[in-house]
């Protein structure tokens, strides 16, 4: 009996200490983590709208969908003219849970400009083929002299899957992920998924689809709120 008490109190104390350390760390790092997340978000937005100005202190226009998920719309402006929105949407159906996507909505062309994934927990090497944009490097470029001048602007690296969203119409709301290029049927609607990352491909597509749907449903209210932000 006494033994059980000693054992359980030892385990209890360990857990207590662990809990204490973790809550302290959580509190101490919460602000810094939020800041890092926002900085990352703005960097991703700036990469999609290099010419756009984003007001970093402005709260995004938030629309809550019927499932209770939040969609954030940051207005992108050029010379005080609204050119588009950087829209954040989420999907819970990723292989590792939640995926947050950033869709660049181009208002003038009524097209998707670029799609990026800003938060995910997909498997490295498989799901990340869908979510991460990666530079194409060649070994012989290491010795070749660099001709292009160094730019400070963050360039968007290519991604086989995400680049398929470029220039699609923003009124589309039913994309289809197919297995291979042979199965491509409708070039407006179909996307070729990545082998080994079908679930991630579908989750990203769903998040983008949902973002566009929320945008279309609430277009007047979003545009109105973006206009109000302008006059302030």
């Amino acid at each position: 009996m006494k033994n059980i008490l000693i054992l359980s109190s030892a385990l209890g104390l360990t857990c207590l200490a662990a809990g204490f350390i973790l809550t302290q760390a959580e509190n101490l790092t919460a602000d810094a983590r939020e800041e890092a997340r926002l900085a990352e978000r703005f960097a991703a937005m700036q990469a999609i709208f290099p010419e756009g100005d984003f007001n970093e202190h402005l709260e995004p226009i938030t629309i809550t969908s019927e499932e209770g998920r939040d969609f954030l719309f940051y207005p992108a402006k050029k010379n005080d003219q609204l050119i588009g929105f950087a829209a954040f949407g989420t999907s819970q159906e990723g292989y590792g849970g939640r995926i947050r996507t950033l869709t660049g909505i181009d208002l003038q062309k009524e097209q998707i400009r670029k799609v990026s994934v800003t938060e995910h927990s997909e498997t490295p090497g498989l799901g990340t083929q869908v979510t991460n944009r990666r530079e194409q490097k060649k070994i012989w470029d290491l010795w070749r002299q660099k001709d292009e001048p160094e730019t400070t602007e963050k360039k968007l690296e290519p991604n086989r899957f995400l680049d398929q969203f470029d220039q699609r119409s923003i009124t589309r709301e039913n994309f289809r992920v197919v297995e291979s290029e042979d199965a491509l049927d409708d070039h407006e609607q179909d996307l070729v998924g990545i082998t080994g990352a079908t679930v991630s491909s579908q989750a990203v597509t769903k998040a983008v689809e949902k973002t566009l749907r929320v945008f279309q449903l609430n277009k007047t209210s979003i545009l109105e709120q973006a206009g109000r932000g302008e006059s302030e």
Binding site: T14, C15, A18, L22, A25, P124, G125, K138
Partner: protein, 229 residues
């Protein structure tokens, strides 16, 4: 470094290599070694956690009662993993970008628990730390070799740099799960063949280090409850 200490470090690299000899941590090994970069990321993140958990377990080894030691180790390791995740995402966004996805996977890495149980819990602090470094380096190098081989034969690239010009279509088998098993099997066979040959030359038969590897470990069978204390 004195001779025994140096051995404590170098055993992790070859003689008691965590993956190829002890067969520990195979789950993350198979899952993330799709490229050399990923192997290195996973290895470094694991080494960091291994160092922290060996440090804590070794310093607390006389305090923790034997019968509840495994749950205690798991709590300690999970705490370390969460702490590492929080700190990198708050203050080192560049590292978080590269290693962030590996950090949650370390909780399921039995290299960490295995070294806590079979080494740090029985050895003084200094030796435990050196053991953690050696095992960490051994794990990292093995994962890089495995990832490098898979990446090279799948796409002709290493560290994401294309080495063979004109390799356009990836040989997907090696990038996917079956390729991980095939490549790891080849590595293990090569290691066993080499060890057996060396042992034969010295006139003995090869035996893996006893009571160290996955087959001898009784953690997951629950036998540790009966045999200890």
């Amino acid at each position: 470094m004195s001779e025994p200490l140096r051995q404590e470090f170098s055993k992790g690299l070859w003689r008691e290599n965590p993956v190829l000899v002890l067969a520990l941590g195979l789950c993350p090994t198979l899952a993330v070694t799709t490229s050399m970069t990923n192997g290195m990321g996973m290895g470094l993140a694991t080494m960091f956690v291994l160092f922290g958990s060996n440090l804590t377990v070794s310093s607390l080894r006389s305090v923790i009662p034997k019968k509840v030691r495994i749950p205690c180790y798991i709590v300690i390791i999970a705490t370390f993993v969460t702490l590492v995740g929080m700190i990198t995402s708050a203050y080192f966004p560049a590292i978080d970008d590269a290693l962030g996805i590996f950090i949650p996977l370390i909780v399921v890495n039995c290299v960490v628990l295995g070294r806590s149980e079979s080494f740090a819990a029985r050895n003084p602090l200094g030796r435990s730390l050196i053991d953690a470094l050696g095992m960490g380096v051994g794990f990292t190098v093995t994962l890089m070799a495995l990832g490098g081989a898979r990446e090279f034969f799948a796409a002709g690239t290493l560290f994401d740099y294309q080495i063979i010009p004109g390799w356009e279509h990836e040989f997907m088998l090696l990038k996917l799960a079956p390729g991980a098993f095939i490549m790891l099997g080849l590595f293990l066979a090569l290691m066993n063949w080499h060890n057996a040959r060396q042992a034969r030359r010295q006139g003995r038969t090869y035996k893996p280090p006893a009571e160290m590897n996955c087959a001898h470990c009784k953690l997951c069978t629950g036998d540790w409850l009966k045999t200890s204390g």
